[in-house]
């Protein structure tokens, strides 16, 4: 149970403006890396960057950005 955030090549970035709080990103995240706070919050220590959240967000509020290392 290392910090799997280091596996990431692309990182999901959530645009709260767009978010309609459908919580799809939360329910589908294989890594339980999105918290259901006021808005969805990504835990970058563990998010592996699969992109499911972005793919499933109905309003395209999540963008996958190349990690800078």
């Amino acid at each position: 149970m290392g910090k799997t955030g280091t596996w990431r090549v692309f990182r999901p970035v959530i645009d709260k403006e767009k978010c309609i709080k459908c919580w799809f990103c939360w329910v589908y995240c294989p890594d339980a890396a999105i918290a259901r706070k006021e808005y969805p919050e990504v835990d970058y220590d563990y998010c592996k960057g699969c992109g499911i959240c972005a793919n499933e967000c109905p309003v395209n509020a999540i963008e996958m950005r190349r990690e800078e290392k």
């Binding site: 290392g2 799997t4 280091t6 596996w7 090549v9 992109g51 990690e67 290392k69």
Partner: protein
């Protein structure tokens, strides 16, 4: 002379294939003893993995893991947060990093070479399941760093192994061979 190389990467990046390609190329370059092997955990895609290669002009009887490498190849600098890649590195050993940075921009207590394999992979459109495959460019870069291995042998080894993506990978290797900086 025995040369020992460690590859650090992540499942899916092709570190094991890199070691194999290097061994093939070394054999083609005239070395009698060559060897390539992974340290597999039960790792999944994305998890840190390690692979080893040995090159020698004599038959190799060693079966143990490499503990004091001559060269360390880092496919993904992200793992340097978790793994000490210079551990055991020989005095005059080299670390080859996959990074857009120059060696001078990297602070490490050893000789450093760099090549931007990810960009080369993306440019050559070599991806598997969305992940850029950086192994072929890095093996190309190694041909520059290692005495006993030549780039033509690397390209040949790539062509034997890859079917329809052979060309793209060989190109990537050549490009990296040319772009690597020590």
């Amino acid at each position: 002379m025995l040369k020992e190389i460690i590859f650090y990467g992540r499942g899916g990046q092709g570190g094991v294939t890199a070691a194999n390609l290097l061994a093939s190329a070394a054999l083609k370059s005239g070395n009698k003893g060559v060897q390539a092997f992974p340290f597999f955990g039960a790792e999944r895609r994305g998890a840190p993995v390690k692979a080893f290669a040995r090159i020698s002009d004599e038959e190799i009887y060693l079966r143990s893991q490499i503990r004091e490498p001559d060269v360390v190849v880092v496919l993904d600098t992200g793992i340097m947060d978790v793994v000490n890649v210079t551990e055991g590195l020989k005095e005059d050993g080299i670390v080859l990093l996959n990074t857009p940075r120059k060696p001078s921009e990297v602070e490490m207590p050893c000789r450093v070479a760099t090549v931007d394999a990810t960009t080369i992979a993306l440019n050559n459109k070599i991806l598997v399941g969305g992940i850029p495959v950086v192994n072929t460019p890095l093996v190309g870069a190694l041909a520059k760093l290692l005495d006993g291995v030549n780039i033509e042998a690397v390209k040949e080894a790539i062509k034997e192994r890859f079917g329809k993506n052979a060309e793209a990978n060989a190109n990537a290797a050549e490009q990296a061979y040319n772009e690597v900086v020590l």
